[in-house]
């Protein structure tokens, strides 16, 4: 199991150090082993957005943390490609530029992976092939309706 873990660690680390700079337009990220003995060492994430020198990942901003987490999740997908991915408002802390980058990444991954994502953000809505609205026209009871982008925007304003 020792070798297996080391191999997993190296593979995910490789994917992360590729994905992070492409999402952030620069900077770097990697996984680090915490502790001396590989058999029970922990794993920590190191991430530096472009231009910054922060030491720990906890100093990152809300949006930077969300994007870094996405880079890690997609690295795990590259290791073991699950058939689908469900995302629930992961774009909420992102500014418009980063929502654009997030959409670019999801579109790229959707070539080999099925996405089902929930959002209130109009930029994210636009990348969908198909949109579903959930309504509670009858209070307390959910129903599914098919919507287009204009209806979806309206629906978020119901």
């Amino acid at each position: 199991t020792r070798d297996r873990f080391k191999e997993t660690f190296n593979t995910v680390n490789g994917y992360l150090s590729e994905l992070f700079p492409s999402i952030f337009n620069g900077g770097r990220a990697s996984l680090e082993l915490v502790g001396d003995n590989i058999l029970d060492a922990g794993v920590a994430i190191m991430a530096q957005p472009p231009g910054k020198k922060n030491s720990t990942i906890h100093m990152l901003s809300g949006g930077e943390k969300a994007l870094t987490a996405l880079a890690l999740v997609f690295s795990l997908f590259k290791l073991t490609p699950a058939p689908f991915c469900m995302l629930d408002e992961v774009d909420a802390p992102l500014d418009d530029t980063n929502v654009g980058r997030y959409c670019g990444l999801v579109k790229e991954m959707s070539k080999s992976l099925q996405f089902i994502y929930i959002t209130h953000n109009k930029i994210s809505m636009e990348m969908a092939d198909h949109m579903m609205g959930v309504t509670m026209k009858e209070p307390g009871a959910s129903r599914i309706v098919s919507v287009n982008i204009n209806e979806a925007v309206e629906m978020a304003e119901e």
Partner: protein, 168 residues
């Protein structure tokens, strides 16, 4: 393998039988606050075997059963079914021959859960067994719940190691 359909009945706010068709690879779910979007994600995690009420924002396992509204009475059971298109044979072993695979879970007010695989009754571990090696499961990296995206970043080193090992 793709997820082609989600069927809910009596699950949380989905009191009436509801079918969600998933025909494309980029499906977006929208709607006002509180309308039931995150309940769909809870439904997928529940049918795959989630056994903690707290992880489903409830206090007991019967909290997933529709418990009424101002115009509707509570119902007696909740059921969710996932239908997968397996024509590419990703799900191997004894299931490779099936082009369509459906898993279903039903719970009643006595908190008894029953699982079905292609309409035939089975155990919870048969369901978790199917998904072995696919990366899927009730707490998989493939499902990111609302507000939890930064959870991976805030995890302690030993938790992150476990996460990595489960994925491999």
């Amino acid at each position: 393998m793709r997820l082609s359909r989600i069927k809910l009945a009596g699950f949380k706010s989905f009191v009436d039988p509801t079918t969600i068709e998933l025909n494309t690879d980029l499906s977006c779910v929208v709607g006002p606050n509180g309308c039931g979007k995150s309940n769909v994600i809870d439904a997928v995690r529940w049918v795959m075997g989630e056994s903690s009420a707290k992880q489903l924002r409830g206090e007991s396992m019967t909290d997933v059963i529709f418990n009424g509204s101002t115009t509707r009475k509570p119902v007696g059971q909740a059921s969710v079914e996932l239908v997968f298109d397996n024509s590419d044979g990703t799900l191997g072993g004894e299931y490779a021959a099936f082009t369509e695979i459906s898993i279903k879970r039903v719970v009643n007010r006595e908190s008894q859960s029953t699982y079905y695989l292609n309409g035939v009754r089975c155990r919870r571990r048969d369901i978790t067994h199917i998904f072995l090696g696919t990366g899927l499961g009730p707490r998989s990296y493939a499902i990111i719940e609302q507000g939890m995206i930064s959870r991976l970043i805030d995890a302690k080193p030993d938790e992150l190691r476990k996460y990595l090992e489960e994925t491999a």
